[in-house]
């Protein structure tokens, strides 16, 4: 006969026993940062040096990761400790990636804004300008012309290829095109520039430089992006829509132009905008085939043509006597470029948000 012990036991909650409370990491982080900042502050007081808060924060973060792991190891055991360690490392990786993004954006805005707003930057070219003053109007016009022409070449070709892949393509040809489009996405931009130069040198002789050649080089980079994005969007068009159209006796090409393309136009526009945003910042191919100049050139079919990325590059690598003026213009050019890219991205997001078809969900 066994005595059943019915007296109430005062056990701790078995679900939380042996676990650290939820607020523990936060407190550990605060203590680690305080200790580190305090130590560095004392050290800077002691030898009169500068207070290095960046290094102090880094040391504090490392201290936290170590302490968090050690405490968890003592209380919760090895497996939980490793879990906490990995969690801290994963979050640290994300924070680490934000540093260059914030740092770069801040630097470009701070360094670029004064020159961008000085009145001459957006209204004049660099012709006969030595030192301060001058502007990037010739580069902005060149960028718009070259990228515009590249879009004129790439959008029809890219769109029709996507139509082929989605509506017509079967078998080896379609698979080959899909594979090569993917590979084309990875062509280094400078190789596209060299190949275009080689093509134009056949017709116009050695040393050819013209804006249109830049457009062709950019098209090589732009077409695959247009194909990929349009293809993905057109595959989302429900087959019921096509079948309804066929059932009414509409020929295939009318179905594509009147049903498939209008349904996917928002997504296609987004893709095209993003592809323009991608190529508008390309420097290397334009440096090779479009060259650089200080003067205005409205004709993309003759002579050198400046573009914004090349403007930034040349201002930075070959400063004149008043180097600071050249660097200022480079930063202002970079800011202009980022603003254009940001604008294109914003338009793309807005278009896709408001005009994408509501697919019955």
């Amino acid at each position: 006969m066994t005595a059943v012990d019915n007296s109430p036991r005062t056990v701790v909650n078995s679900y939380t026993a042996g676990k650290l409370p939820r607020w523990m990491p936060g407190v550990t982080l605060a203590i680690a940062l305080l200790v580190s900042l305090g130590a560095f502050w004392l050290m800077s007081m002691a030898d009169g040096g500068e207070f290095n808060w960046i290094l102090a924060t880094i040391v504090g973060a490392v201290l936290f990761v170590a302490a968090n792991w050690f405490i968890a190891r003592l209380v919760e055991g090895g497996r939980q400790a490793v879990n906490r360690l990995v969690t801290s490392l994963v979050i640290a990786a994300f924070v680490l990636a934000l540093i260059p993004l914030v740092w770069l954006t801040l630097t470009v805005v701070v360094n670029g804004t004064p020159t961008l707003m000085n009145g001459t930057f957006l209204t004049s070219s660099m012709r006969n300008v030595v030192g301060a003053g001058g502007g990037a109007l010739h580069a902005i016009v060149g960028t718009l012309l070259i990228t515009g022409l590249a879009a004129v070449i790439s959008i029809p070709v890219g769109l029709m290829t996507a139509v082929y892949l989605v509506e017509y393509g079967t078998g080896k040809m379609a698979r080959a095109i899909t594979f090569l489009v993917d590979v084309m996405t990875g062509i280094p931009s400078i190789v596209a520039g060299l190949a275009t130069y080689a093509l134009f040198a056949l017709f116009f002789g050695e040393g050819v430089r013209m804006g249109f050649a830049g457009s062709v080089a950019l098209s090589i980079l732009m077409i695959p992006v247009v194909v990929r994005s349009s293809e993905e969007i057109m595959r989302l068009v429900p087959n019921e829509l096509r079948e309804a159209s066929y059932a009414l006796g509409v020929p295939k090409w009318r179905t594509i132009t009147k049903v498939v393309l209008p349904t996917s136009v928002a997504g296609i526009t987004t893709g095209v905008m993003l592809s323009i945003a991608r190529v508008i910042g390309e420097t290397a191919p334009l440096l090779i085939v479009a060259g650089f100049t200080a003067s205005m050139n409205y004709n993309p079919f003759s002579e050198r043509m400046m573009s914004l990325p090349v403007f930034v590059y040349t201002q930075y690598v070959s400063p004149g006597t008043d180097a600071q003026a050249y660097f200022d213009r480079a930063w202002a050019g970079a800011l202009t470029l980022i603003l254009i890219v940001a604008l294109l991205n914003a338009i793309a997001r807005i278009v896709s948000h408001y005009f994408s078809p509501k697919l019955g969900r």
């Binding site: 490793v82 990786a93 993004l101 594979f179 400078i190 080689a198 660097f327 890219v341």
Partner: protein, 312 residues
């Protein structure tokens, strides 16, 4: 038994013929472009192998002696960039797919994608003008304290414009592509695998190690290869940040750094003339072959995987 009815065929319309013809032509045009890129590069490269090496900048003994340091520099810089970028990119991908609060995850993904929207010339400007001077004191410390490691052998670079700075900038540039692809693959891990691991008492990290990482491995490998392809071909950031020399050296922090093929082309092309242009185009051809191989391998890995998982 009646005879099988004659197969009804649609009337051939002119519009259909034209439209499908145009679509096929556009597809064929892409094949043509890629073939054209290869053919023009090869045609313009041939003279480079025949000329007197003395015409090449720096008077090397042969074409291959000129190319050697460039190929080494290209691969070395890209490898360093991968070494920095891959752990961070995988961390970010895991953070967005398995750690961040559901509501925030997509927005955080966009934030990382913003890194891809910055033009490369702006990265170059930032790397050379801001990052290099800021990081130079760290190099001084490394060389003073760890100079016995061959990677940090003295003397230290006075400007900070070394191959390590280049690798950091390249790593930032290839982060978004590796992150985006890995994130997609991690999100496709079957929920049941994850829940089974958690139900057996695995911690979150053990669940990731047992369910997510093995499932995502092929996708991650191809993402890394695509990042490698991007790093190999990146031009302006390297051209602007690095202070180049025609050497083969593994020192990360010194003043003598091997340069990369694309940066070398960008720096020398505007002033090049005569057969030196052909030499530069020939180096471009070598770069094209390397990146083509890397990208094809990556795409092949993705395509092979697509058949059974739907991931790409």
């Amino acid at each position: 038994m009646t005879a099988a009815p004659a197969r009804i065929t649609a009337k051939r319309r002119l519009g259909d013929t034209l439209f499908s013809g145009a679509a096929l032509a556009a597809g064929g045009f892409i094949l043509l472009v890629l073939a054209g890129v290869a053919i023009f590069l090869i045609a313009q490269s041939i003279p480079a192998f025949l000329i007197d090496p003395a015409e090449i900048k720096g008077q090397p003994d042969s074409f291959w002696q000129y190319v050697g340091p460039l190929v080494f520099g290209t691969v070395w810089a890209a490898a360093l960039a991968l070494l920095i970028a891959v752990p961070i990119a995988l961390g970010i991908a895991l953070f967005i797919s398995h750690y961040a609060p559901r509501r925030l995850a997509q927005g955080l993904g966009y934030t990382i994608d913003l890194l891809a929207a910055v033009p490369s010339v702006v990265y170059g400007l930032w790397g050379a003008g801001v990052l290099a001077p800021s990081i130079q004191p760290a190099y001084v410390w490394l060389v003073d304290n760890l100079g016995w490691i061959p990677l940090f052998a003295p003397p230290v670079s006075g400007t900070g414009r070394t191959i390590l700075t280049v690798a950091i900038v390249l790593a930032v540039m290839i982060l978004p592509i590796i992150t985006a692809l890995s994130r997609e693959v991690f999100l496709q891990t079957p929920k049941l695998h994850e829940e089974a691991a958690l139900a057996l008492g695995a911690t979150r990290w053990e669940m990731i190690r047992m369910a997510v990482l093995p499932f995502g491995r092929p996708g991650v490998i191809s993402a890394i290869m695509l990042g490698l392809g991007r790093a190999l071909g990146e031009t302006m950031a390297v051209a602007m940040v690095l202070s180049p020399a025609a050497v083969i050296s593994i020192v990360l922090t010194g003043p003598q750094n091997p340069t990369t093929i694309p940066a070398n082309i960008a720096l020398n092309y505007p002033e090049a003339h005569g057969s030196y242009v052909n030499v530069l185009i020939a180096t471009g051809l070598i770069l094209f072959v390397i990146t083509f191989a890397v990208n094809s391998a990556a795409r092949w890995a993705i395509a092979r995987r697509k058949d059974f998982s739907g991931a790409n």
